[in-house]
Amino acid sequence: MSPTQISLNHVKKTFRTRGLGKRKEFDALVDLSLDLRKGEILGVVGESGSGKSTLGRCAFGIVPVTSGKVTVFGEDISQVSGSALRDIKKRMGFVFQDPIASLNPRMYVKDLIAEPMRMHQEFSHNFYERIEYLASRVGLSSEQLQRRPHELSGGQCQRVAIARAISTNPEILLLDEPTSSLDLSVQAQILNLLSDLRSEFSLSYLLISHDLDVISHLSDRTMVLHDGQIVEFGDTQSIINDPQQEYTKTLLRMKSGSGRIDTLGTSSPSLPPGFDLDMWQEAPLNRWAFQNVEKFISTQIIEASSTPAPWAERKQSPWRDLEISGEGSIGSILESTYTDALLVVQNGNIVIEHYENGMNPESKHLLQSVSKGILGVLYAQLEAEGLLATSDLIIEHIPELAGSGYATATISEALDMTVALNFSEEYHDPDSEIQQQDRSANWRHRLAGDVPGIHPFLQSLTGSGQHGQQFQYCSANTDLLAWIAERVCGDTYATILSDRLWKPMGLVTDSTITVDEFGAPLANGGISMTARDLARFGALFLDEGYIGNQAVVPKKWIAQTLAGASNSVQSVEYLQVLHPGGSYKNQWWITKGENQEIYCVGIYGQYIWIDPTTKTIIVKFSTLPVATNSEHSRLHMALFREISRRKF
């Protein structure tokens, strides 16, 4: 371990306020210990009144401590004085918050920089050259040396303060809110400078800030301070990515740019006990989470139609005890598949509508990959409007992807999942691309090295061979297609869906879609909507693209999708079992069964199933304990096939 340069041992600092009558005491620091190691940046983060500035001042011997011991360069700071103290001070530098206020307005920049050297009587023959060197090192011109602080900008003043701090070649620097009175763009310049100087002069920093972004960007280790006490202290990455204390989590959640207020903001989102962003898709959390996604992930609203077209309801005949051949009753199957909702529409009438787990006809449920089918339908619209052609190269619309695996792929290859990518869809493997994507999209906690945001993630994907040859189910393709849709329409995906599908289709309830911190949608699985509204998408396929008298998608596209793709999905073994000869077209699964059924499926048991022959639509929402399981899939297929062939 590197040698310790400053160590605080059970330090306590009490301030007494003088006033008329009673005296008040206030503990700024309570029994605090820390060590600053050589060459490290130690970040201290806290809100105003947390004692962080007092901590810095105590550690650098600027103010005496009430009890405890402060050791600097191996010497007890309270015991040294005179020239020994001066020698210690010479090895320290200071940069304080307000750059303009921390410079004497009456002095010239050159004298300000020279002050510590004058004090330590470092008059060498190249005194003035050294000032010039320091100035140029921090990015000041020699002309600016002749000015006074008020003639410079805030950022330039902070450069002067930094030049002054390093003028005596110190080993440790106290940086107390060095950038908090600066613009973000100037802050970036100063942070870069501090970072460069540290490596150039092998400095150690004690960095104090209220800004978690600044701390996490620079520091090696981070201390979270609250009411004069250490809340959490450790490696910066682990504090940011895996905070243990509630207070740290609050700080992380509350920082600006941490997500749209719309959904996250409500001052304390009521999350169930034991909620964990990395576990919400698993049982048992998913039973709550799939209906409450907007409470822990940023979402945008997909507005419903102002003239809703509700389903015709009909008295339901008893269905619970109907037998599914060899599998037991419908009721028992629903039970064993963790059902949240089952909706069956036949010939335009609701014939079965059943909700569990606290759901009702107005409840939204996460669709997972059923969301992909909605994008497929949207693309029929976009193509009909002439905004794009499926034969277009992807990079014609998103040139940013030129360096990625998508460089040579076409839109139709993405729609039909035949883009060859290095992409693993292993839902439970933390190293898989699908989990990385979840983390990029804020569906899970980010880890070190993750790309922030969905679009940067897509840009990071690499190709694995010739596109258009083989079926490869890859969720990222759908998000890419949503990006293209936003680009060609010049609007958010949520608005596009609302304007082009939700409103014309007369959908009843506002839906939501999860977005990352930049507002990019997770189109492959982030939509939450009601079972009744989802079933409308089935109606499109049954009525040749019409909803009532309203043409939503071209008849041709419906026919083309129902016909399926030429290359079947034989490569995936268990799909062969489910629907032999089936294929994947326009984001829908085509069974090629005798009734020409098509469907969409999402992990943990989300389905929309359409049987064009019997004019039946089935929507099922579930919260299975595992993402995919071939037995559950088989059971669902059997259930859907039998229900559709029955006459209600």
């Binding site: 001042r57 650098f60 600027i62 103290l85 001066r86 001070k89 010479k90 320290m92 200071f94 304080f96 918050q97 307000d98 206020a101 921390s102 410079l103 004497n104 307005p105 009456r106 002095m107 002050e115 510590p116 004090m119 303060a161 106290l174």
Partner: protein
């Protein structure tokens, strides 16, 4: 501090300050070159001329002569010397003493501050002229003693001004940084505190010059300042006060000189304040 060029530009924009500036310079020149300007330098220095007693203003004596036959103009010209001398000396000494005590009190704080400020309060609780009167009556009349008395009643104003400034400067970030770096107390006070109180000091001093002239004149008027036969405006007004109806010129012209000088200093003082302290500008 701003440059002379800027000050010149400022004066040209502000007519009243320019008038003050010109008046003060005029009086300074008059005092400096009194022996060459005065029609009768000898009489200006106080030598009587009994042949010319009681002449009114006329071609030979523009301002007439006094009861001892001295040319009033010459005496008014010579009178500028003690007036300016006492004003500059008093302000200089009072400001120096006050600044040092104020810096010590303001920067050190604690009981030193208490002691110095209580003494200040003691001095400030008397009307300034009254204090000076008491002091001169103890020391005995005379120009030097009058100056000393005025210093005694003037320094607390500077001490209080500087102490307040020093106290607020002490908590400013740049002073904190300096002391964190280990800069010595003396250097901090000199480089970081004193340099930043110079502006209010100059403003205060410029405004005080006129007031001190007035006060010195008052002391002389009641016989506690300059002594005859010295030419002093206050003294001359006192001499002429019994003859105001017969020989009005004897008291009027020195009185006018006091008026013009004080006006000049006050206008200049206001101008300096506006120039140096942008916050007071309208």
């Amino acid at each position: 501090m701003k440059t002379l060029v800027e000050f010149k530009r400022y004066l040209l924009r502000n007519k009243l300050s320019l008038v003050g500036f010109l008046l003060v310079n005029f009086i300074l020149l008059v005092a400096l070159f009194a022996p060459w300007i005065a029609p009768s330098p000898k009489e200006g220095r106080g030598v009587e001329n009994i042949d010319h007693i009681g002449f009114g203003p006329g071609w030979h004596h523009w301002m007439g002569t006094d009861i001892l036959g001295r040319d009033v103009l010459s005496r008014v010209i010579y009178g500028a010397r003690p007036a300016l001398l006492i004003a500059i000396c008093v302000v200089l000494v009072a400001a120096t003493v006050g600044t040092i005590l104020g810096l010590v009190a303001g920067y050190m704080g604690g009981w030193i501050d208490e002691v110095i400020m209580r003494v200040c309060d003691l001095f400030l609780s008397f009307p300034p002229l009254l204090l000076a009167l008491v002091a001169v009556s103890l020391l005995g009349p005379g120009l030097t003693h009058a100056a000393l008395a005025l210093v005694i009643s003037w320094w607390p104003w500077y001490a209080r001004l500087v102490r307040g400034q020093a106290q607020s400067l002490k908590s400013r970030a740049f002073v904190e940084v300096a002391s964190a770096m280990g800069v010595g107390t003396f250097t901090i006070v000199r480089r970081h505190i004193f340099r930043n109180v110079t502006t209010p000091l100059i403003i205060q001093a410029a405004a005080d010059l006129g007031t001190v002239i007035l006060a010195a004149g008052s002391l002389a008027f009641i016989g506690l300042g300059a002594q005859p036969p010295q030419s002093d405006w206050g003294l001359m007004v006192a001499d002429g006060r019994g003859l105001v109806f017969d020989q009005w010129w004897v008291a009027t012209f020195p009185g006018l000189a006091i008026f013009i000088t004080v006006l000049g200093f006050n206008l200049l003082g206001d101008g300096m304040r506006d120039f140096l302290d942008p916050r007071s500008q309208k």
